[in-house]
């Protein structure tokens, strides 16, 4: 992938995050707060992204490996841990990085902590105790950085 292509995609993706309201933690939490005063906007973000995504990814299906159907302990535990962090702050990785651009100091702290968490997971995955605890099911595969399946 050429760096200029990657930069353009990052700009476009980030513009989408800004327009949609995903870079506003208060708005994200308003969506997640289904028993309070619920703001359904983010369902429209997901809906819009997937509607066009279905078409484009279908066209790109030969360029990508077939998606995996494997649901293992690492996927389940990781997704639950991620969800708790997302619910605490209102940032998921993309919007957290985009919020760096407006100089939000808490976004800086969030992104640094996120990188530390990623480093910790790598350490954890490399220790034999963790591998035994999770039955050796920890996947070091990178679903989402090209190549392997998501």
């Amino acid at each position: 992938m050429r760096p200029l292509f990657a930069l353009s995609i990052g700009l476009l993706f980030g513009a989408g995050l800004c327009l949609s309201g995903m870079t506003q933690p208060t708005k994200v939490l308003g969506f997640l707060d289904i028993t309070g005063r619920w703001d359904p906007s983010l369902a429209f973000v997901m809906g819009g992204a997937i509607a066009i995504g279905l078409v484009l990814f279908h066209r790109a299906r030969r360029r990508l490996p077939a998606p995996s159907a494997r649901v293992d302990q690492a996927l389940v535990a990781g997704s639950l841990i991620f969800g708790v962090g997302w619910g605490l702050v209102g940032f998921c990785p993309g919007p957290g990085v985009a919020a760096l651009g407006v100089g939000e100091p808490k976004a800086v702290a969030f992104v640094v902590a996120m990188l530390a968490g990623m480093g910790l997971q790598r350490l954890f995955a490399e220790t034999s105790i963790a591998a035994r605890l999770l039955g050796g099911s920890i996947s070091t595969a990178n679903d989402c950085t090209g190549g392997v399946t998501a």
Binding site: A6, L11, S41, P67, V71, A98, A107, F110, M114
Partner: protein
């Protein structure tokens, strides 16, 4: 359940969502890669031939609010969580997304668009955990 009509912005959300889907789709068509921000971020900790491209995509993401802000007035992000919560949340998000090999972009947008069962499970679980967390923080704590 009561809808918050004051903050509900369906058209901006839909438009932003379409742009997100288009960018992920173009990347898949153009480079055969899945746009997953957590994967790109953790890839910064590695040095290989793709490092520059990953850094370029993340740079684009950082520059996006500056570029968009030059044309449209964007509200500054409001983070209600305190510093300790922000750091704890960041650690959990980093650890969890790597363990699950993906986040809202890789599993939520790209995975669901690819009709991946694995990504559908991940998305259902992280949404449920996030909803439960917000419920505890806002209504129980």
């Amino acid at each position: 359940m009561a809808i918050d009509w004051l903050n509900f912005t369906p058209w901006a959300a839909l438009a932003g969502g379409l742009v997100i889907g288009v960018s992920a789709g173009i990347m898949a068509l153009g480079s055969g890669r899945v746009l997953g921000v957590s994967g790109f971020l953790s890839g910064l900790l590695e040095t290989d031939a793709e490092w520059t491209s990953r850094a370029a995509l993340l740079l684009g993401l950082v520059l996006a609010p500056i570029v968009v802000g030059a044309f449209v007035a964007l509200p500054a992000p409001e983070v209600d969580a305190g510093w300790a919560t922000v750091i704890a949340g960041g650690l959990l998000v980093g650890f969890g997304t790597r363990l699950a090999s993906g986040c809202t972009s890789g599993h939520g947008v790209c995975g669901l668009s690819r009709l991946s069962l694995r990504s559908a499970a991940a998305t259902g679980l992280f949404m449920a955990a996030a909803v439960a967390t917000v419920f505890v923080v806002r209504h129980l704590a």
